[in-house]
C-alpha cells in the first residue's frame, strides 16, 4: 500500500516535472510545478517529515507559486527582456548529456550499500514532531538559522535597490 502511494505520487511528480520543462507557455509550466510540489509534499509526509510537508504546501505551493503566477500573468513572459540569447539546437546536445547525468546518478545510488545506522536521536514516534525540530533548530542550528535570515534580508534589500533604480 505504501509502495503504491509512493509510485503513484512519484509518477505524478515526474510527469509534472517533464511538463514544466517541455511546456512552451510559462503559465502552464507554473501550474505543472504546483502539481509537482503537491505530490512531493505527499512524499515528504511519507518520509515522516510532517512539518516539512506542511511547509511545502503552504510556502512553496502556496506563496512562491502564487508569486510566480502573478509575475507570469502581470508581465508578458514571452517578452524579449526575458530571453537569454543561447546557442541554437541546444536540446540536441543537452538531452543526451542530461540522460547520461541521470543514468550516472541512478547507477551510483543503486550501487550504494545502505548500512543501517541503528537508532538515531529520533524515536519512531518523534519523527517529524515540531518540538524536536524546533529544539535542534534553535540550539545546534541557531547560527545557520540567523545567517539565513540575514541572507534573506540582503536579498530583499537588493531587490528593492534594483527595482528602485531609475535610469
Amino acid at each position: 500500500m505504501e509502495l503504491l502511494v509512493f509510485y503513484l505520487f512519484a509518477a505524478i511528480a515526474v510527469v509534472a516535472a517533464l511538463v514544466v520543462v517541455l511546456q512552451r507557455r510559462a503559465l502552464y509550466s507554473a501550474l505543472a510545478l504546483i502539481v509537482c510540489f503537491f505530490s512531493l509534499a505527499v512524499l515528504f509526509y511519507q518520509l515522516g517529515a510532517y512539518f516539512i510537508a506542511a511547509v511545502q504546501v503552504i510556502v512553496y505551493a502556496g506563496a512562491i507559486m502564487v508569486l510566480f503566477l502573478f509575475v507570469v500573468m502581470l508581465v508578458d513572459p514571452e517578452a524579449e527582456f526575458f530571453r537569454l540569447s543561447r546557442v541554437r539546437n541546444l536540446p540536441v546536445l543537452a538531452v543526451p548529456v542530461a540522460a547520461v547525468l541521470g543514468l550516472l546518478l541512478v547507477w551510483g545510488i543503486s550501487g550504494m550499500e545502505m548500512t543501517d545506522s541503528g537508532p538515531g536521536e529520533l524515536a519512531e514516534l518523534d519523527k517529524g514532531e515540531v518540538a524536536v525540530l524546533a529544539r535542534d533548530l534553535f540550539s545546534d542550528y541557531l547560527l545557520p538559522f540567523e545567517v539565513t535570515s540575514i541572507l534573506i534580508l540582503v536579498a530583499v534589500l537588493g531587490a528593492m535597490v534594483l527595482a528602485k533604480r531609475t535610469d
Binding site: 515526474v14 514544466v20 510545478l33 512531493l40 518520509l47 517529515a49 537569454l84 545510488i109 550504494m112 545506522s117
Partner: protein, 64 residues
C-alpha cells in the same frame, strides 16, 4: 516501508529533469522554475537521509 533508495532515485530523476530544463529553456522565468524543481529534488534527498539515519538534522537543513 518504502526504501531510502527509492526516494534517492526519484530525487536524482527530478534533479536531472530540472537541470535539463535550466539548460534547454531560454525563458528566464521558466529557468527559475526549473531551479526550484532541482531545489525540491535535493530536499527530497535530505529528508530521505533524515529518515534513514533517524536524525532530525536533514529536516532542519531542508527547512533552512
Amino acid at each position: 516501508m518504502v526504501s531510502t533508495t527509492h526516494f534517492l532515485i526519484l530525487g536524482a530523476v527530478l534533479f536531472t529533469i530540472g537541470a535539463l530544463g535550466v539548460v534547454v529553456r531560454r525563458n528566464v522565468i521558466t529557468m527559475f522554475m526549473c531551479v526550484e524543481l532541482m531545489l525540491n529534488a535535493v530536499n527530497l534527498t535530505l529528508l530521505a537521509f533524515a529518515r534513514h539515519f533517524n536524525q532530525v538534522d536533514g529536516q532542519i537543513l531542508s527547512f533552512l
